[in-house]
């Protein structure tokens, strides 16, 4: 086997492996795992969930390649150890180690942690603790720079005390600059403080300690004040997708992962403007990757990985202006290499379904749609104005193409929602079934998944209150009553999980204690329903003296200072508020690709932000 790097803990890790489920989670040495010399500037990137989830994350695959392309730098990986491995590691006194060289995470220069969503926060704390790194940034005198990135940075405030820095927006360029800066700092002998202060000046890097938060007596924020010359607001970064052609060496896991496929992004951002959707707001503007670049990546990765499936990914794949051209070319590669093509995030319209059917995407099994709500009125409120006819057409088309299972995503707890809207979900599903029957076809199985709406920062609904548990449970009862039939399977997310997600989503720095107490009382893997423990979160809030209702069930004042006020993800507050008011009036806003710029604030010049590869027709 390969020679050992100094500090390699393998000899202490190996004896634990036969005592845990799926030892391959901790091995490394997968296909295309990078060879690491262990010299120069060392980076370890973490995903705060199980290996099978983390290995499927596109962001980390991209960033690992980006760093490994920098001369004199190397990037390794670590994932959250499962319960059994954590027990073994703690009892053996073994610290968190990287998968490539099995060295202690605390010995690296940069410890980057992906923040995918709120229910991974306790896992993030656990990673720090297992690594033997002080939980609070204030207490760190040495050790790696602890940097957070990913979608969760839209409001990183509840995590602010635990991380040294956050990277806002897309990480490719910033991480590249950060790594080069750390290399420079190492050669010049900068201390940790100097390094942090230099790093915090990079565009897109947010150092929480650069901002002081003053609270009023009523608990609201008085102001968020930059100190030491920090800018008023930190703006997120975006990159040019045609310049950053990554990932180039995605690692092929031994085990079955969440997504076993090549993942190539066709564009970032989304212009539809669904008012509940955080990604659609914070990932603006839309930037399409050229057809040639997409095809080139697919071809190279097909040879390199051997995968049997390729996904062309984005927030709404059929919105890609050259979707027909790109799918035709990718299909050719698929035929040659015996791969199947999938297009996640399909819209519910005839064009999307016909395209998908013509490509026989993903075989003949299931087709997933997201009508989101039961009534057209409520779909106007959330600005996803799909008509009932669109939905019926899409389902009919899918059934004609031979789909035997239709998955439908809905949300409950949306602003202005009434019981009638909830009951309409049942009517819609039964209507779909009857229409299919009316056309002389056997209805497919409908898997109806209903989640609880959580208002998110930087969206038009950041002002609204979370619907309370009793009300959500009552609405779930309505669904249970109205959706009882053979061939219709109803499932929903645990609404208590949504409650914790909601608490943290719009939380401030005062919630850090809640997270730490929840972790200390044993919370891990909170997004896994079998491991989620609401009682521990309740106890943690109480211990921290935090009233969750203040964060959850309070309609925000129009001019209230939000905990994320100093973080600029593109859309202006005024734009978001207008959108919110439009929602309450039941008015829709047009897609910005249609030519009429809504001046959301992403670009100075109206409409100048879009990067399209072709002309758009809705």
């Amino acid at each position: 086997m390969s020679e050992r790097t100094p500090g390699d803990l393998w000899e202490r890790i190996e004896p634990l492996l036969l005592r845990v489920e799926r030892p391959s989670r901790y091995l490394g040495c997968e296909w295309d795992a990078p060879g690491i010399a262990g010299e120069g500037t060392t980076v370890v990137l973490a995903y705060p969930d199980l290996y099978e989830v983390g290995i499927s994350n596109l962001g980390l695959a991209i960033l690992q390649d980006v760093v490994n392309d920098i001369e004199g730098a190397s990037c390794e990986r670590v994932y959250s150890p499962w319960f059994d491995m954590e027990r073994e590691m703690r009892s053996a006194g073994l610290p968190l180690f990287s998968l490539e060289t099995h060295r202690a995470v605390s010995t690296y220069d940069i410890f980057g942690i992906s923040i995918p969503h709120e229910l991974t926060y306790t896992n993030i704390i656990n990673l720090l603790d297992l690594a033997g790194i002080s939980l609070r940034a204030d207490n760190r005198e040495e050790g790696p720079l602890v940097i957070g990135g990913g979608c969760g940075t839209a409001n990183p405030e509840p995590l602010a005390p635990f991380l040294d820095l956050f990277v806002l927006g897309e990480g490719e360029e910033v991480l590249d600059s950060l790594v080069r800066l750390v290399s420079e700092g190492k050669s010049r002998g900068w201390d940790r403080r100097k390094l942090l202060s230099e790093a915090s000046r990079l565009e897109g890097v947010y150092q929480p300690s650069d901002y002081e938060v003053d609270y009023r007596d009523d608990g609201l924020i008085e102001r968020i004040e930059p100190v030491g010359g920090a800018p008023e607001r930190v703006r997120k970064r975006t990159v040019d997708l045609n310049e950053w052609l990554y990932p180039r060496h995605p690692i092929v896991p031994f085990c079955e992962a969440v997504h076993d496929r090549i993942n190539v992004e066709i564009f970032r951002g989304c212009t539809r403007g669904c008012r509940f959707c955080q990604a659609g707001m914070i990932c603006r503007p839309v930037r399409e990757r050229s057809v040639d670049a997409v095809v080139g990546l697919v071809d190279a990765l097909a040879v390199r990985t051997g995968h049997e499936e390729v996904a062309l990914s984005s927030l709404s794949s059929t919105d890609y202006t050259m979707i027909k051209a790109v799918t035709e070319k990718v299909s050719e590669i698929c035929e040659k290499r015996r791969m199947i093509l999938s297009l996640p995030s399909l819209r519910m319209d005839g064009f999307s379904v016909e395209l998908a059917s013509s490509l026989e995407l993903g075989g003949r099994g299931s087709f997933t749609f997201a009508p989101e709500t039961g009534t057209e009125r409520l779909r106007r409120v959330i600005n996803k104005p799909i008509s009932e006819k669109d939905i019926i057409d899409a389902v009919l088309c899918a059934v004609r193409a031979g789909r035997r299972r239709i998955k439908l995503y809905f949300m409950i707890g949306l602003p202005t929602e009434t019981d009638e809207d909830v009951e309409a979900i049942g009517r819609l599903v039964f209507g779909l079934r009857d229409t299919v029957r009316g056309e002389g076809m056997v209805p497919p199985v409908f898997n109806v998944s209903v989640s609880t709406f959580v208002p998110k920062p930087h969206t038009p609904f950041q002002w609204v209150k979370q619907e309370n548990l009793e009300s959500i449970e009552r609405k779930q009862g309505i669904l249970r009553e109205t959706l009882r039939a053979k061939g219709i399977n109803l499932s929903w997310h645990d609404s208590r999980m949504s409650t914790v997600e909601s608490l943290l989503a719009r939380g401030d720095r005062r919630l850090a204690d809640v997270i730490e107490y929840a972790w200390a009382s044993g919370c891990r893997f909170d997004s896994w329903s079998e491991h989620f423990d609401y009682a521990r979160w309740e106890a943690a809030s109480e211990k921290a003296g935090v009233d969750p209702e203040f964060y959850l069930y309070r309609e925000r004042e129009p001019d209230e200072v939000f905990p994320w006020e100093h973080l600029d993800f593109g859309p202006d507050r005024d734009f978001l508020y207008e959108e919110y008011q439009g929602a309450l009036r039941g008015e829709t806003s047009p897609d910005c690709r249609g030519g009429k710029c809504r001046e959301c604030g992403v670009s100075e010049e109206p409409g100048a932000c879009l990067v399209l590869t072709g002309t758009w027709s809705s």
Binding site: M1, L17, L18, W31, H307, E308, R337, R364
Partner: protein
């Protein structure tokens, strides 16, 4: 064939099988059977072998696998039959595969088989293991005695715990050879076992080890750190063990 002219063209593309013997060592020994077989299959895709698939919408690679290897056991004989659509020279296939395998997995050898050959999954019934015992499990004499007692028993009952059910099985008929001796480096005791594995049932090396350790008076659980290595997989023909890579060797593959 009754109508040779009609089929003439097909002769060259008649389904072939590439029988590959892999070794699984080092970190790869911690892969489960499903992880290991997935890895071999995706490696074969990377190697660009002319693989055969079945099923239209979700194509499935056609392969036949040798019996599972327990996690933690190393092996120099893991067999896979890859069903091919076209001819590929075994030497070329070996090189291409070797380049496409992750660390810890190597190709030992390759051989083309005709389409009428029995696939490995239906062929193998016997496995040979070599086991290095940790020194604290006892000396050569203890183990030799244990082996003698074991071989003299008519019935060796053991409780086999499986996820769904637990039952008592008799290991004895599945144990064909058993020896204890000092290993080649002279350091510790080594066991050699030939056990049922595959189409006629399976006795795991750890099961034999558990019984022997008890007979040898080894400290509770001390045998668990033994290094188990699968040396070969065979088909029993009368009293002979035949290697699946030797079978039908005198018949041309194509």
């Amino acid at each position: 064939m009754s109508c040779p002219h009609r089929y003439l063209e097909f002769v060259t593309v008649e389904p072939l099988r590439l029988r590959v013997q892999f070794a699984k060592r080092g970190k790869a020994r911690y892969l489960s059977h499903s992880e290991f077989s997935r890895t071999l299959m995706i490696s074969a895709r990377r190697a660009g072998l002319p693989l055969q698939y079945s099923g239209k919408y979700r194509p499935r690679m056609k392969v036949s696998l040798s019996p599972p290897l327990p996690i933690g056991v190393t092996s120099e004989c893991e067999l896979v039959d890859f069903f091919l659509e076209q001819y590929v020279s075994p030497a070329e296939a070996e090189q291409a595969l070797e380049r496409s395998l992750p660390d810890g997995i190597q190709v030992v050898r390759c051989r083309l088989m005709g389409s009428d050959a029995k696939p490995v999954g239906k062929l193998i019934d016997t496995a040979a293991y070599r086991v290095q015992l940790p020194t604290e499990t006892g000396n050569e004499g203890d183990w030799k005695r244990a082996v003698e007692i074991f071989l003299g028993m008519e019935v060796v009952n053991l409780e086999r715990v499986q996820p769904r059910r637990t039952r008592v099985v008799d290991l004895r008929p599945g144990v064909h050879e058993l020896e204890a001796g000092i290993g080649p480096d002279g350091s510790g005791v080594e066991l050699f076992m030939v056990l049922d594995d595959g189409t006629r049932g399976t006795v795991k090396p750890s099961e034999v080890l558990r019984v022997l350790a008890d007979l040898a008076g080894a400290a509770e659980g001390s045998w668990r750190d033994a290094l188990v290595h699968r040396e070969g997989l065979f088909a029993r023909r009368g009293g002979r063990l035949v290697s699946p890579l030797e079978l039908g060797k005198h018949r041309p593959a194509v």
